[in-house]
Structures are given as structure tokens and as C-alpha cells.
């Protein structure tokens, strides 16, 4: 096991300092969600109130933005799961001319700055006379979500032995049965992790969304707009707080899911 010598004081201070640097801004967001001052962030907050929670719940623009963000993230993730898995299967499983080039090109959308993706999509949409809508945002998000799913899936495909697929076919399973009974259970956790990451990325995406949205407002865009408008400022903080709490839940879920998975995998050896 680990040695139980105690960490030196300097290291402890550095660790505390690092944690403070990372978490203090988030703590401030929580703090100001309860401030009585609504026009500016004033230190220290003049007083505390819980009335902003009620105000937030009654603001229809918050609910609309949240609903749009969830819808976009959900559809982009589903699209990405299908496209990413298929691409990964093709690249990992078969040999064809230009395979290496394609596996590089697939990763490109995430290596390029979001601005480039945004501009190119916007000019493509106007070139094809596609009106901006929820679906143009979905298309924009699906570009990088697909890459995330692809990256997770391709690594797992490479680790899944090709002999397993041969074995399934040998035992009488056709293509669909092989996918359902052998491939899918083996890549499921990779898809779950990739899907959750894609969902989270889409949920807080600002740059590509700015270029591909018409007059739709996703939650991050709504927050950005709210910041420049000094009206009921703590409402933004309440929403931010809700987002933090809501996003921590799937992260914890993923942590416990994969921890259990590792446990079984470990005991198999």
C-alpha cells in the first residue's frame, strides 16, 4: 500500500492553494445566487435572500433556453452515437484505400478552433439557403460530438478482439445478431462515456452555437446575454448553480458505473 508518511507542509499549502484557485470562482457563483443586490456584484454581498430561486422558476426565458439546450444536446448526442460508432467500426475493422487519411480527417473538427467550424458551417448554410433553426445548431454540435464518440469507440473497437466477431459468426450469428449480442455489449461503456461527454460539450457550447443559431437562445447564449444586462443579475447565478448541480450528477453516475465495471474486469484476471 501507499506509505503513510505525512505530506510536508509546503505540499499541503500548495494543494490547498490549487484547490482554492480552481473552486473559489465557482463558490462565488453560489454565493451571489443568494445576494440581495441585483445590479452589480458587490463585495461583500449586502445581504442574503432566497427569493431569486423563485424569480428564476417564474422566468419563461430561462425555461425556454434550458429546453432548447437539452433538446439540442440530446439530438446531437444521438446523431453522434450513430455516426461516431459507424465511423469507428469502419476505421477499426476494415482496410480500404485512404483509411489513415480518413481517421485523421475525422478528428480534424475537434482540432480546429470552434470559430473555423462556426464560420464554415454558417457560410455553407447560407450558400445552400438553409434557414437558421434548432436543426442548424444540432448540425453544428454534431460535428464535434461525433468526434468525441468516435474517439471513445475506436479505442474500444481496437481492444475488442476480432476473433470474438469471428467466433460469433462461426456459431451462427448473422451480422445483426453479432452486433447486438457481441459487439454492442463490448463497446457499451465506451459509448456511454463518449455520449455523456458529447452531451456535456454540446450543453455548454457557445462559439459554434453563436454562428449557427438564428434567433434561438441556448442556455449558455442566454447567460452571456444576461451578463451584459444589469437586471435581476442573481438569476444567472441561480441558473449556473442549477447547471453545476445537474452536471455533477451524471459525472458521479459515470464514476460509479465505470468503477463497478473495473471491479468486474479486475476480478476476471
Amino acid at each position: 500500500m501507499h506509505s503513510d508518511t505525512r505530506a510536508p507542509l509546503g505540499l499541503k499549502l500548495a494543494a490547498i492553494g490549487g484547490l482554492f484557485f480552481l473552486l473559489a470562482p465557482i463558490a462565488l457563483i453560489f454565493l451571489y445566487a443568494f445576494s440581495t443586490e441585483e445590479k452589480s456584484f458587490q463585495w461583500p454581498p449586502p445581504g442574503f435572500t432566497t427569493r431569486w430561486i423563485g424569480v428564476t422558476l417564474n422566468r419563461p426565458d430561462v425555461w425556454e433556453a434550458l429546453a432548447l439546450s437539452l433538446k439540442v444536446a440530446a439530438i446531437s448526442t444521438i446523431l453522434a452515437l450513430i455516426l461516431g460508432t459507424l465511423t469507428a467500426a469502419a476505421v477499426a475493422r476494415s482496410r480500404f484505400f485512404g483509411r489513415e487519411t480518413i481517421s485523421l480527417l475525422v478528428i480534424l473538427p475537434i482540432a480546429l478552433p470552434g470559430i473555423i467550424t462556426g464560420i464554415s458551417l454558417r457560410s455553407a448554410f447560407s450558400l445552400l439557403d438553409i434557414p437558421f433553426s434548432t436543426w442548424t445548431i444540432v448540425l453544428g454540435h454534431a460535428t464535434f460530438c461525433t468526434v468525441i464518440v468516435y474517439n471513445n469507440a475506436v479505442a474500444r473497437f481496437r481492444r475488442t478482439s476480432e476473433a470474438l466477431i469471428d467466433a460469433a459468426m462461426d456459431l451462427g450469428a448473422d451480422g445483426l445478431q453479432t452486433f447486438r449480442l457481441v459487439i454492442l455489449p463490448n463497446i457499451a461503456t465506451a459509448l456511454l462515456a463518449g455520449g455523456m461527454l458529447a452531451f456535456a460539450l454540446s450543453f455548454d457550447e457557445v462559439i459554434v452555437t453563436t454562428f449557427t443559431a438564428g434567433n434561438q437562445t441556448t442556455l449558455p447564449i442566454w447567460m452571456l446575454e444576461e451578463l451584459v444586462r444589469p437586471r435581476q443579475r442573481p438569476v444567472t447565478n441561480v441558473v449556473a448553480m442549477a447547471v453545476v448541480i445537474v452536471t455533477i450528477l451524471p459525472i458521479l453516475a459515470a464514476y460509479y458505473l465505470t468503477r463497478d465495471g473495473e471491479h468486474t474486469a479486475g476480478s476476471e484476471k
Binding site: A163, M169, D170, G172, P185, E268
Partner: protein, 293 residues
């Protein structure tokens, strides 16, 4: 199917299983055309080199897989799986994960999985390669008696000539993508058709026929190392190497400029390196091959 690595035996097996398609010629399995038929429609099952057990299923689900995809009900297929596990002496292991088993047990699960669907042909791709010697010998005997009692055709790939000779009714020796010789184990061993077969199966001494006094000038002859005996009335050779193997002592000999290998019983007083020895052989043990020198 016996041959060195890269000689085409696994490719041949994959052609029978249906993972590869022939570019020329055709394949028949018990008179039925098999080329063009996908693997899942062939009545042939494979025991893979590294077992290829499904890691997300337990032993019972692994064995019952082929019945499940055929649409057999749960209770029925689990009963069939249990019977197949009994056949390979793994009754009661159904709930274990593949990862919890030893190499030999995994081997048996892979075998049960291939047998449960009652195929006409079972393909085994170097199935014992990963096992240690003792276990391998035990599995060889079990596979052989299982094959006899079930009356199935086993197509067995190996690069181990002992394994091939001791298990097979018919041996096909592969080299460079071609079958060099097909015959019973005795045929292959006693009457190898070429220098390659003579050397690969049993490391024979391949020498010009006239050198061993067999006539047939211009042809190659094969003389098995164990057929060379120490004989006080024999011919003189120089000993260039001496290796004690337990059961036998292997001698490297220089016979008129030709290297010979002889295996003499361990109890014989084998001469040492640098000494001269007198050797002889029964002329009927010299096999003349068709190949010209």
C-alpha cells in the same frame, strides 16, 4: 494440418470455416458446396487459437450462444449447454466468468461451445498451443477419445509434428501455401515424399542415396536419426556434437563430409566430441525419395 508458421494451414482452416473466400477452386463439406456460403450458415464450428470466449458472458451463456441465436428457448439451451459442459468435464462451471478459469478450462469451454450445436466438422486452430506440456498431452488424449466417441470430423491445425502424428488419422503437411503430402502418420513418417517433409516431420537425415549404399544414384534418401545405431562392425564417423536429452543422446556426426544426426539410447556408451565412432543401419530403413539431387 501440419506445417511451419506461414505455410497456409490457418488460411486453409479459415476457408473451411468461411472467414475467407477462395479466389479459385471450390470447397465442399460432405458433398455440399460451401464457397460463397457465409460462416453463420455452415454446419462447421471452430475452436479458436486463443479460445475467443465472450468476456461479457458466463460459461453457460458462452456455450449456449449458438443455440440462442438459433432461437432455442432459455431452459432448453441451458440444459444443452450443461450437457456439453459435462462432456468436457466442466459440469457445474456454468456460472463462472471465462476470466476466472485456467487456460485448460477455457480450452474445454471453447470445445464445449463448438460441440453444443452438433456440427459435422469441428475446426481446431492450434488449440493446445497456449497450454503447458503436461496439460497439452492430457488434452491431446481427451480430444482424440472425444472425437472417436462422437464420431465427428476434426480438422486440427498444429505446427507440432508429435501432436500431428499421434492424434491424426490423416496428416496433410503444408509448406509455402501448398500441401506437400497427405497420408497416415506412418506413411508420412516412413515414406516422406520430399526432402522438406522428411526434415520437417522427424528431422530426418536427408542425404544422397548412393552415400548410404542404397543404389538409386542421383536421388535423395532419408534415414531417421533413431535408425542409426552404434555398430562395432560399421562405418567410421567423427563425433562433432553430443547432447544428452534424457531418454536419448543426440549425436552430431561427420560422415564423409556429410552431417548426420543420430539418436542413441541413453544407456548406450555414447562417444564424446572429437572421438571416432562406428555406426551402422538396417538398409531397409533407408527411404529413397523421388527428388533428384
Amino acid at each position: 494440418m501440419l506445417g511451419p508458421s506461414g505455410s497456409g494451414k490457418t488460411t486453409c482452416l479459415r476457408l473451411i470455416a468461411g472467414f475467407e473466400q477462395p479466389t479459385a477452386g471450390h470447397i465442399e463439406i460432405f458433398g455440399e458446396r460451401a464457397d460463397g456460403v457465409p460462416p453463420y450458415l455452415r454446419n462447421v464450428n471452430t475452436v479458436f487459437q486463443n479460445y475467443a470466449l465472450f468476456p461479457h458472458m458466463n460459461v453457460r451463456e458462452n456455450v449456449a450462444f449458438s443455440l440462442r441465436v438459433k432461437g432455442m428457448g432459455r431452459a432448453e439451451r441451458h440444459r444443452a449447454a450443461e450437457e456439453a459442459l459435462e462432456l468436457v468435464e466442466l459440469a457445474g462451471y456454468g456460472n463462472r466468468r471465462a476470466g476466472e478459469l485456467s487456460g485448460g478450462q477455457r480450452q474445454r469451454v471453447a470445445l464445449a461451445r463448438a460441440l453444443v450445436n452438433k456440427p459435422r466438422v469441428v475446426l481446431l486452430d492450434e488449440p493446445l498451443g497456449a497450454l503447458d506440456l503436461k496439460l497439452r498431452e492430457q488434452m491431446q488424449e481427451e480430444l482424440r477419445s472425444l472425437q472417436r466417441s462422437l464420431g465427428l470430423t476434426f480438422v486440427f491445425v498444429t505446427h507440432d509434428q508429435d501432436e500431428a502424428l499421434s492424434m491424426a488419422d490423416r496428416v496433410a503437411v503444408f509448406a509455402d501455401g501448398k500441401i506437400q503430402q497427405i497420408g497416415t502418420s506412418e506413411d508420412i513418417y516412413r515414406r516422406p515424399c520430399s526432402r522438406f517433409v522428411a526434415d520437417f516431420v522427424g528431422s530426418s537425415n536427408v542425404i544422397p542415396a548412393d552415400l548410404v549404399g542404397a543404389g538409386a544414384a542421383g536421388k535423395w534418401a532419408s534415414l531417421r536419426p533413431e535408425d542409426i545405431v552404434l555398430d562395432p562392425a560399421g562405418q567410421e564417423v567423427k563425433v562433432t556434437g553430443r547432447f544428452f536429452h534424457g531418454r536419448v543422446t543426440k549425436l552430431s556426426l561427420d560422415f564423409a563430409g556429410q552431417n548426420l544426426t543420430a539418436l542413441v539410447p541413453a544407456h548406450a556408451d555414447a562417444p564424446d566430441v572429437g572421438e571416432t565412432a562406428l555406426i551402422g543401419w538396417d538398409p531397409s530403413r533407408v527411404h529413397i525419395m523421388e527428388e533428384d539431387t
